[in-house]
């Protein structure tokens, strides 16, 4: 048994590292427990493809917290691509390129629907303005900083309804990709959330760091070590010890470690249902979490290719989603455990921006498939088959070029809701168990690599520790 620490952080992914580092910098004694052998969580480079630095967790960054870069001194973070345009792929080759230049995007849209060009421009500036206004809530967790009738409407509006003034289906489908489940109420706010984010000083951009997302994880590990955190890998937490307040954790080896606070970077469901003692969260909350079981998730695939794929469009973030209806169809099919007929795919040629991500001469195509059942019929083999077929419609001869791949099946994440997105950070970070906080995916308003949940959870936990000491 090691000496009692102030806080235990469960999970050495991005948010876990950030939370631990902030707490350590505030003078706390922190123990970081990671179940795997290496740190980095979903940010670390694929293990199945030696020499490849791309990661399955994310192919690019859309929401990295700018404060993190400043506070933790991540000056080494350089970007290979600062602003990847969105390219909605069409089977006829008339791809729709939506980039930073509003006029160029409008021209591209006007080729299909002149009315949409104007509507898109207005909608985009509206969303961007609202996004900027919402930053106090989403960046600093200040919930009372914003109140607007439009906001209360978007909180319950679906992206489908929000986009209904547009007429071109491919355009709607492309915008809706950021909304997660665009027919769900509250998903309109997800579009605003995306627009509130900033990468490299550009609002709503998608950027690729040199060395991939794994480089960011590496820098955070260095920062964490420099801050003097005790790190234990291959330490899988089996249970959180708590009765009225949290007492510590027990590992699957049976070892018990005590601390005053525990920060979990797992989802709310996993933390409160699987790790905590039965009904520690209270009966109604437990029942609510049990009912809110997610049925669908995203799968990620990395293809290692021996020749660059050709999408017939400038490099960008390629989307395969032709109709808005496809999202609803995919959702209802996925609910039955089957793979949707029309897969919704986001693909990035990671090596086009940064060739160092793969051994010389090889290329990495990073793919995310949206809205798949958690346990699909046919398993990963079927998903891979279907994804390759879908991609080959846009980039021929892909199959012959594949020399290796790695896949991450859809996994459980907390279900999206407009209410959760509009809530203050504190509501997502705090749990009914005294001293237990969420600092990772469970505390983020949306699934994205941002590190904000870690930073704000550390602040909340720190305030709690200071208060407890006095008491």
């Amino acid at each position: 048994m090691s000496a009692r620490s102030d806080a235990i952080v469960i999970g050495g992914g991005l948010n876990g590292l950030v939370a631990a580092t902030y707490l350590a910098k505030a003078g706390r004694k922190v123990l970081l427990l990671e179940a795997e052998e290496i740190l980095g969580g979903s940010c670390r480079a694929s293990a199945a493809l030696p020499g490849v630095r791309a990661s399955l967790g994310a192919h690019a960054l859309t929401a990295l917290d700018p404060r993190l870069v400043k506070d933790l001194g991540l000056r080494g973070l350089k970007f290979a691509a600062r602003d990847l345009p969105t390219v909605a792929l069409r089977p006829d080759g008339h791809h729709l390129v939506l980039g930073r230049d509003a006029h160029a995007s409008a021209r591209a849209i006007a080729a299909q629907s002149p009315a949409d060009a104007e509507t898109y421009r207005r909608m985009r500036s509206e969303i961007f303005a609202l996004g900027r206004a919402m930053r106090p809530l989403w960046w600093d967790g200040l919930s009372d900083a914003f109140s607007d009738p439009l906001f209360s409407r978007l909180k319950v509006a679906s992206a489908t309804a929000f986009l209904s003034n547009l007429e071109s289906e491919p355009l709607k489908a492309a915008i809706a990709f950021d909304a997660g489940m665009p027919m769900q109420s509250g998903s309109a706010l997800a579009l605003v959330w995306r627009a509130a984010q900033e990468m490299c000083g550009l609002q709503g951009a998608m950027a690729m760091p040199f060395g991939g997302v794994a480089a960011l994880a590496d820098m955070l590990i260095i920062a964490a070590q420099a801050a003097g955190i005790e790190i234990r890998t291959k330490a899988r937490v089996a249970k959180i010890l708590a009765d009225s307040a949290v007492a510590g954790v027990s590992l699957d080896t049976g070892e018990e470690i005590y601390s005053r606070a525990v920060l979990s970077s797992l989802s709310r469901r996993e933390t409160l249902l699987d790790l905590s003692p039965t009904a520690a969260a209270g009966f109604s909350e437990t029942a609510r979490l049990e009912r809110a079981a997610p049925l669908t998730g995203d799968a990620a695939i990395l293809f290692l290719l021996n020749a660059a794929p050709d999408f017939g469009a400038p490099n960008g973030r390629f989307l395969i989603a032709e109709r808005l209806d496809a999202y609803a169809a995919a959702e209802s099919i996925a609910r039955e455990g089957r793979l949707p007929d029309e897969l919704l795919i986001e693909a990035v040629v990671a090596t086009a921006a940064d060739p160092s991500l793969a051994p010389t001469g090889l290329h990495v195509l990073s793919v995310r498939v949206h809205g798949l059942p958690l346990a699909p019929e046919g398993g990963s083999a079927e998903i891979i088959k279907r994804v390759i077929a879908a991609l080959e419609r846009h980039t021929p001869h892909l199959r012959e070029r594949i020399i290796g791949l790695d896949i991450r099946l859809p996994y459980e994440q907390d279900v999206f809701s407009g209410e959760r997105l509009a809530a203050a950070y504190a509501e997502r970070v705090e749990t009914p168990v005294e001293g237990l906080f969420l600092c990772g995916t469970g505390a983020e308003p949306m699934n994205a690599i941002s590190g904000r949940a870690g930073r704000l959870a550390a602040g909340i936990a720190q305030a709690w520790l200071a208060r407890e000491k006095r008491a």
Partner: protein, 482 residues
């Protein structure tokens, strides 16, 4: 001719609005395009000797205060409360399970009714206030509505939370979604519970209610013009100053209440060029989710049902997934294989609807699309739907179809055409979190007010109950004309 208020549409809402304004001493005219008053509150003979209300069997409850204020009982509206709600499980081989109002089910109904009551009270009080002068910085965020919390719940989730037992769950689900098209898994679908159950059947059919309302309006001094459609609303600047009738008559009015739905009001009563862009966008963004079809059956012999159970609605229970599947087909413009079905032996509660010894059975189907993926509603498609529904009825009540003497099928386009309701959606818009409460109509113009000055919306609004939307609009008019 100059009036204080012109009311478009002589349905329950229009007549109630007219009576309310008339009682306040205002000079009112009601303009109805049909030859009779009533709107959806009609009863007609669909087969010689057999009558039924073609669109609905029962209207949502008329709020008590309105019922008394308009003195409807004296004008002839006598309500028979609906006491039972029955669920049938046709797929259970050895028994047909009757299940009526378990305690939890009734408690849920009571909660929903209470919520709806609070919502209505709030809407009625809000309407009586003159709009606040708005300072820069936009309208204040409205205080939350009672029942707004249901915006975050799906119907399935909410029901499994409040009811134990799958049977009660399925019964409540069928009751909430009867005649509608909704995905019970969707967030916010719990709002369907607010639409509440019926306010009881009216002796002599819904038509009697219409004539009672008409009598109340006339007694209050309102003028009713029948048979002439309103062609458009006259505007001066951004202010409504009267209406044009189809025959060219001009009617001047200080306020205009439209009881048509949002899209119909703005897109059929205004020239497109007159509408501000923002209004046009808001209106075209509004969604409708019509899914109601009706099959009226004249029966030579009453079906073998126990008298206690026969009076209320009989829901053919289906599980959540079946509802979700039906909604899926609806979304794609396909008539589901097993549309959600509610039967009602209307002649049991009101024997005057059928000749002695015979019966009238109505079937309400949900998730029947307004627009089919393969074109119009042809005769073959209607026949196919009728046959399929009869087979479903036969499975639930064996032997009934043999006694069918005549029938009439009504699909959403029929409702649209006969009642002038967009897509035939009797709820006046999809029941979704972003279309309820403050978001019904125009968020910036709370209640029944619109961006066009002097124009008020008094059309159907779920959760308000019959007549209430009209009275709410009337109160807003009174507050503003003061």
């Amino acid at each position: 001719m100059r009036y204080d208020a012109a009311i478009i549409g002589a349905g329950a809402n229009g007549l109630a609005a007219a009576a309310t304004l008339g009682q306040a001493g205002l000079k009112v005219i009601v303009l109805e395009r049909a030859a009779v008053c009533g709107g959806r509150a009609v009863t007609r003979e669909f087969h010689p000797g057999f009558c039924a209300s073609p669109f609905v069997d029962e209207l949502p409850q008329i709020p008590v205060e309105i019922f008394h204020a308009l003195d409807l009982a004296r004008h002839g509206a006598v309500f028979v409360p609906t006491l039972s709600s029955l669920a049938l499980w046709p797929d259970r081989k050895h028994e047909v399970l009757h299940w009526t109002g378990s305690e939890a089910f009734n408690r849920l109904g009571a909660v929903a009714r209470k919520r709806a009551n609070e919502i209505r009270t709030r809407a009625l009080t809000d309407a009586a206030l003159a709009p606040e002068r708005r300072w820069f910085g936009g309208a204040p965020t409205p205080a939350s509505w009672p029942g707004e919390g249901w915006s975050n719940d799906s119907l399935t989730e909410f029901l499994s939370e409040s009811l134990s037992g799958d049977d009660a769950h399925m019964h409540a689900l069928a009751a909430a979604l009867s005649g509608r098209a909704a995905d019970p898994f969707a967030v916010g679908s719990a709002l369907h519970l607010l639409t509440g159950d019926g306010g009881g059947t009216v002796m002599g059919g819904l038509w009697t209610l219409a004539s009672a309302l008409e009598a109340a309006a006339r007694a209050a001094g309102a003028e009713i013009s029948l048979g002439l459609e309103v062609a458009d609303i006259r505007l001066r600047g951004q202010h409504a100053v009267g209406v044009h009738l189809a025959d060219g008559t001009q009617i001047e009015a200080r306020a205009v209440i439209s009881t048509l739905d949002l899209r119909r009001t703005f897109f059929s009563l205004f020239a497109w060029k007159d509408l501000p862009k923002a209004v046009e966008q808001c209106v075209s963004r509004y969604r409708y989710a019509a899914g109601r079809a009706r099959l009226l059956l004249a029966l030579d012999a009453p079906p073998p049902l126990e008298a206690d159970f026969a009076q209320g609605p009989i829901h053919i229970a289906a599980d959540t997934n079946a509802h979700a599947k039906a909604h899926d087909s609806w979304r794609n413009g396909i008539v589901p294989d097993q549309p959600p079905l509610t039967l009602r032996l209307v002649s049991a509660a009101d024997p005057r609807l059928a000749p002695i010894g015979k019966a009238v059975l109505t079937a309400t189907l949900g998730c029947v699309p307004h627009r089919l993926f393969d074109g119009a509603w042809t005769n073959e498609k209607r026949t196919a739907l009728r046959d399929r529904t009869l087979a479903q009825i036969e499975a639930a009540l064996p032997g009934v179809t043999a006694s069918v003497a005549g029938s009439e099928l009504i699909v959403p386009p029929d409702i649209e055409e006969q009642l002038g309701i967009t897509e035939g959606d009797l709820d006046g818009g999809e029941i979704a979190p972003d279309q309820m409460f403050s978001f019904r109509g125009f968020a910036e113009h709370p209640g029944s007010r619109t961006p066009i000055g002097g124009l008020y919306l008094g059309g159907t609004s779920p959760a308000f109950g019959t007549c209430a939307a009209g009275v709410i609009a009337a109160r807003a008019v009174m507050a503003d004309l003061k």
